[in-house]
């Protein structure tokens, strides 16, 4: 037994070394820099400033707005994606003709790189030539063209909509995989007993796919909290949609303020860690599920 354990560690060692190199070290550097006044120009000549960067960060309303934007984005987009993904997965799970083709088609939005789809949607939402305005005007839903990405009240909903379009397939596919693992005989029995389909769904399907669903939700939430490319492409550095990542990048790259930017990045990592811990404990997600 002990030998087997040692062998297991031996096999894991290369992976751990690589992880320490590509993930651990940069993370450590970021945390380290967040306690200094380093700038891009003084990367090897800086002083420790203790918690100064964090204190300034806490006092910056723009930061709090970025935190708020990120949370709203994460909660709303993941919520909609889960509901839609579940619906699509149930439909794909039914024995439709051409199911394979449908499954492939559904994946297209997920396959397109975010930068490309964001740019694409940016043009579709264009205020003068955008196809979105053309369709809505044609249907008589809006009286005059809207400036989707420029209007501060519409910009964040637009960013969320694009994310929903892109990530729903990912959700649907994960849920579909769980659905296809379900034992058929349960459903046979339920049908024989004449249980209402809604009750079947709530009592049998949901509890059985819950672990997979929770993992999918957790993955998407972590992704959504780190969001950068969507906002950056669609609305640039605009404060009405700025996410925590956009904020951190602006300080790190545009303002060359490595210390302060690292503090923002470190807080983002902390938020991610807290979200993960909460999800794993409250949602009782079995990260090691699938044994």
């Amino acid at each position: 037994m002990r030998q087997r354990r040692r062998a297991a560690w031996l096999f894991l060692l290369p992976m751990l070394v690589v992880l320490a190199g590509v993930a651990g070290w940069p993370l450590f550097r970021t945390v380290f820099f967040s306690f200094t006044d380093a700038t891009l120009a003084t990367l090897d000549d800086f002083q420790g400033v203790g918690l100064d960067n964090y204190l300034w960060l806490m006092r910056d309303p723009v930061w709090w707005r970025a935190v708020w934007n990120t949370l709203v984005f994460a909660v709303v987009s993941v919520g909609i994606e889960t509901a839609l993904g579940l619906g699509i997965a149930l439909i794909l799970n039914a024995h439709l003709p051409g199911r394979g083709l449908l499954r492939a088609a559904v994946l297209i939005p997920w396959a397109i790189p975010t930068v490309v789809s964001a740019q694409m949607w940016g043009w579709m939402f264009h205020d003068l030539y955008g196809v979105v305005n053309a369709i809505l005007m044609g249907l008589g839903l809006i009286a005059k063209p809207r400036a989707w990405t420029a209007d501060p009240d519409l910009a964040l909903p637009v960013v969320i909509a694009v994310d929903v379009w892109k990530s729903t397939p990912f959700m649907a596919l994960l849920i579909l995989a769980a659905l296809q693992m379900l034992p058929r005989d349960l459903y046979e029995a339920a049908r024989v007993d004449g249980v209402h389909p809604v009750k079947v769904f709530v009592r049998i399907t949901l509890p059985l796919i819950r672990p997979a669903l929770m993992v999918a939700v957790l993955f998407r939430t972590l992704d959504a909290l780190r969001v950068f490319d969507l906002m950056y492409v669609l609305t640039g550095n605009s404060r009405s949609t700025m996410s925590m990542s956009v904020y951190a990048r602006q300080y790190l790259i545009d303002f060359q303020d490595v210390g302060y930017g690292s503090a923002a990045a470190t807080l983002l990592v902390l938020v991610l860690a807290v979200a993960t811990v909460l999800a794993v404990t409250l949602g009782r997600v079995r990260v090691d599920a699938g044994r």
Binding site: T39, L40, A41, T42, L43, D44, V62, H126, D127, L128, Y129, P145, R146, A147, W148, T149, A150, D151, P152, T235, G236, N237, S238, R239, S240, Q250, I253, D254, F255, Q256, D257
Partner: protein
């Protein structure tokens, strides 16, 4: 560690060797793609042929902020990999410490030839850290045909532009062109909005956000007037979407025939007159309007400079290359072959240059009257100042904030950024 990073980064840049020759090898980073890179390459190779040295070219990343970050790391690590840098007109304050002083090498005659505002932009604490290479200034593109059809002169003031734009927009729409807008510009929250807003404010004599001596001047009634006026355009003569337009989006609307006026850089001239343009031959380029009768025609100065790294192993050859490329003969060649805007005013009256680019005559005034963004005074913190400025201006333009109420807050934010005006 940082040093190794910089070497790695430099290794990632693509290097192209030029003609082999005796003498030193000078490495030049000129950005730009297509024609602008060809212009740079041909000029540098010509210098190499004449001087018996060699030139290597590196292509920096495409985005301006990625470029700046890379240059900062290379220079902070003391890397001698690049000798001559092409830098934006707002970077001397940020990178100036790493560049050699070119004042004595150029000599007063050569320095005196260039636009004073350009030289001012390249001067940091009395040191001339770069040589002006080409200039850029905001200009107003106007639809000549529409102005004639509606019997309106070229607007001299913003107020006049507003009236003319509203009138033509109304009448054109009544005639069935319901996509027509009066005025398009750059309103997205990015550097271009700083450029546009500075033009509105400076043309009203409302200062340049921060004075050259570091005084924060933005909180003044003229600036408030200028911003309130621009706020009035959004949704009336400018499409609401203008608040997410950059240069190309504005050009798209204008070039498809859906705008009477456009604020843009000179680069758009060739494109709006191209074969596939809906408005080819119907466009005039004029100076941007004055802010009110006692205002002045001005624009924001843009452009690029060449600077020599103080870590260069062959500073003499590198400086020679920079001075050659920014010299009169080379700027003339670039103007004729690539419509690059010289930084030497005399060239705007040169017969060959004007023959190749008839509209340069219109540009000369705009470039001569251009104002600098406050990049010297704010030094290392310029990008932060600009970001604070454009974010707040954007809030005013979207109607979230009132111009008068915003300016004191902006001033306060700038005081914070400058640690109490000490920059």
């Amino acid at each position: 560690m940082a040093r190794r990073c910089a070497l790695l980064l430099a290794g990632m840049l693509t290097a192209v060797s030029a003609l082999p020759a005796a003498g030193a090898t000078v490495t030049l980073a000129c950005s730009g793609l297509g024609i602008s890179f060809d212009l740079c390459r041909d000029g540098a190779q010509e210098w190499a042929r004449r001087s018996g040295n060699e030139v290597r070219f590196v292509s920096p990343p495409k985005g301006a902020s990625e470029q700046l970050a890379l240059y900062q790391q290379l220079l902070a690590a003391g890397s001698p990999d690049i000798d001559v840098f092409q830098i934006d007109v707002v970077w001397p304050g940020i990178l100036g410490n790493y560049f050699i002083d070119l004042k004595d090498r150029a000599g007063p005659d050569v320095v005196g030839r260039h636009l004073p505002a350009m030289i001012e932009a390249a001067t940091v604490k009395g040191r001339l850290v770069a040589m002006p290479w080409f200039a850029d200034a905001g200009v107003l593109y106007a639809r000549k045909d529409l102005l004639e059809a509606h019997g309106r002169p070229v607007p001299q003031t913003w107020e006049e532009l507003q009236d003319t734009a509203a009138l033509i927009q109304r009448e054109e729409r009544a005639a069935g062109r319901d996509r027509m807008w009066g005025y398009v510009w750059q309103g997205r929250a990015y550097e271009g909005l700083t450029v546009n807003a500075l033009e509105w404010i400076a043309s009203r004599n409302g200062g340049t956000i921060v004075d050259p001596d570091g005084t924060i001047t933005i909180d003044n009634p003229r600036a408030a007037e200028a911003l309130a006026m621009a706020r009035g355009w959004v949704g009336s003569i400018s499409p609401p979407g203008v608040l997410n337009y950059m240069e190309e989006e504005a050009r798209g609307v204008f070039q498809s025939g859906n705008a009477v006026f456009m604020r843009n850089w000179p680069y758009a001239w060739t494109l709006v007159n191209a074969a596939d343009s809906a408005v080819g031959g119907k466009v005039a380029v004029v100076p941007l309007p004055k802010g009110g009768a006692d205002g002045r025609h001005t624009s924001t100065l843009g452009g690029q400079l060449l600077a020599v790294s103080k870590f260069s192993a062959h500073a003499d050859e590198a400086a020679d290359l920079a001075l050659y490329l920014t010299g009169l003969a080379e700027q003339k060649r670039r103007a004729i072959h690539g419509a690059s805007n010289p930084t030497i005013p005399a060239l705007y009256e040169d017969a060959e240059v004007v023959a190749a680019n008839p509209f340069f005559a219109e540009l000369a005034d705009s470039i001569a009257n251009a104002v600098n963004r406050p990049a010297q005074a704010t030094g290392m913190r310029y990008n932060q100042v600009s970001a604070e400025f454009y974010a707040n201006v954007h809030e005013v333009l979207t109607g979230r904030q009132d111009a008068k109420a915003m300016l004191p807050d902006l001033k306060e934010a700038l005081v914070r950024i400058s640690r109490g005006g000490r920059w």
